[in-house]
Amino acid sequence: MSEGLALSRAAAARPRSVTSEGRAVRWLLTGIAILFLALFLVLPLLTVFAQALSRGWAAYFEAFHEPDAQAAIRLTLTVAAISVPFNLVFGVAAAWAIAKFEFPGKSVLITLIDLPFSVSPVVSGMIYVLVFGSQGLFGAFFIEHGIQIIFAVPGIVLATIFVTFPFIARELIPLMQEQGTAEEEAALTLGASGWHAFRTVTLPNIRWGLLYSVLLCNARAMGEFGAVSVVSGHIRGLTNTLPLHVEILYNEYNFVGAFAVASLLAGLALVTLVIKSVLEWRYAGDLAAGARH
């Protein structure tokens, strides 16, 4: 027996790659996937804009002229402006302690930081009611001192901080663990102070991961519904965030108004998604691998 390999002019029929399915199967699966995503994801998104504009642009913009709507926009921005920086500082501090040092119980700490992700939004709001509500743990104390937390802005901020608590820490911890401590140690041997090393070495290394996680944190902070709904009390013009305002308008059958306000949030989601995708494509190496939600 002899195995020969001869290359001659005769063109050979090219069989398909052995690690792929046949063309028909490929088309079928691709078709199913795209149809499914279009039906379940894209169509609802388009509906928001279609419904918002169903009575024309004038009706659309009218929804934002309402004082209640403007109050809701202001409150949503305020809540995000407090909760995002809070979680930013927490996230960086937690990531620094966890990623740059070795100590026992580290994985327990990470699990606890992750905890809010596995708690139902409604329960997230409810636990604050149990602490600060009129019948809550410290309720009597706060009422005595005239401080209202539940059914007021502080409660909304707290609930928002809770649901977005893990976002930034969770992105930064694996990222900084991967980067190790060599660069900081090099900076210290060159005479930099700890703060200087952090500013000039650590921060530039994590900037894309930081931006990425702040973006996602902000989107969730502005869009949170369940947790905020429980602690807000739905007082128009005072404790209504944008998502809650959407609910009220919808339940009043003011569909154009509801979808107009919703389109604002959907726009925010789209912008978030686009920037997030761009960051993932361009700076994939500077983001924590696998931490995509």
Binding site: I32, F40, T47, Q51, S118, V123, A258, F259
Partner: protein
């Protein structure tokens, strides 16, 4: 001669990098005040009720039916999301087609879209006079204001979990393994069933569990489409909200405890699956 210093207990391994005390202390304080203390309040409330108290609440027909709906529908939705999520993940990692990156980015839409927005959009789509609802009505199916509506919303929010947990593993499959299977005479179908799929099972199960847990706890995207009829389409999180608005903190805490307990079991199951997979095959 070198003097051996007496070994003394150190909480952390010595390091030249500064700031441990400050950052660790700050992080722990935040964690305690924001997360642990309020959750402890829930545990305190629940333990005040005792197992009997919780059982009493769970036996209430309305509560029992809400829990049944939440868990049952979420199970079905997570199953659906896992199946289609796998197809989506496979197509996105294995095939090249125009617009692939956009489709890939769109998978995260349910993460980014506020739940209330998704909720009213789904409700208006599947309402009897909605774009899809009207078509379904023609064949006698009512989606909105029934458990089917809850199912649709849960598939929507569960899908990214199902896709994103298996996607990186599909990308990591060693093509050599598939080639090895082919050189040994296996057809493509056989290769998929015997060689490609089995190692992905733990990831699929993890994605399923995450989607399931998320579905059980979900509120915003469901309540608009569910119709919220007691005993028919009322979900457990909504019942918590109702109990809270009636200042029935104990009842709310009992339902929350049951939900947290089952979520906890789900997460435990995920960890066991992953530990088993790591031990057996050396990967997650």
């Amino acid at each position: 001669m070198v003097a051996t210093p007496q070994r003394r207990f150190l909480f952390r391994r010595p390091s030249v990098i500064p700031g441990f005390g400050l950052t660790f202390g700050y992080a722990l304080t935040c964690l305690s005040l924001i997360v642990l203390l309020p959750l402890a309040a829930l545990v305190a409330k629940a333990s005040g009720l005792g197992l009997d108290g919780i059982w009493e609440v769970a036996r209430d027909p309305r509560v029992a039916s809400a829990l049944r709906i939440s868990f049952g529908v979420s199970l079905a939705a997570a199953l659906t999301a896992s199946v289609f999520g796998f197809v989506v993940a496979w197509v996105l990692t294995r095939y090249r087609f125009p617009g692939r990156k956009v489709v890939d980015a769109a998978v995260d839409l349910p993460f980014a879209l506020p739940t209330a927005v998704a909720g009213i959009a789904l409700a208006s789509l599947y309402a009897p006079n909605g774009l899809i609802g009207a078509q379904l009505a023609k064949v006698g199916i009512q989606a909105a204001y029934t458990p089917l509506g809850i199912f649709i919303a849960m598939v929507f929010i569960g899908l990214p979990f199902a896709v994103r947990t298996v996607q990186p593993l599909i990308a990591e499959i060693d093509k050599e393994v598939e080639e090895a299977s082919a050189t040994l005479g296996a057809t493509r179908g056989m290769t998929l069933v015997r060689v490609v799929l089995p190692p992905l099972v733990p990831a699929v199960l993890t994605g399923f569990a995450l989607a399931f847990a998320r579905g059980v706890g979900e509120y915003g995207s469901i309540i608009f489409i569910a119709g919220n009829l007691p005993y028919v389409s009322e979900i457990a999180p909504l019942l918590i909200v109702i109990k809270l608005s009636e200042f029935d903190y104990a009842g709310a805490a009992a339902i929350a405890t049951i939900m947290l307990g089952i979520s906890f079991l789900t997460l435990l199951a995920i960890n066991l699956i992953q530990a088993w997979s790591r031990r057996r095959f050396g990967y997650v």
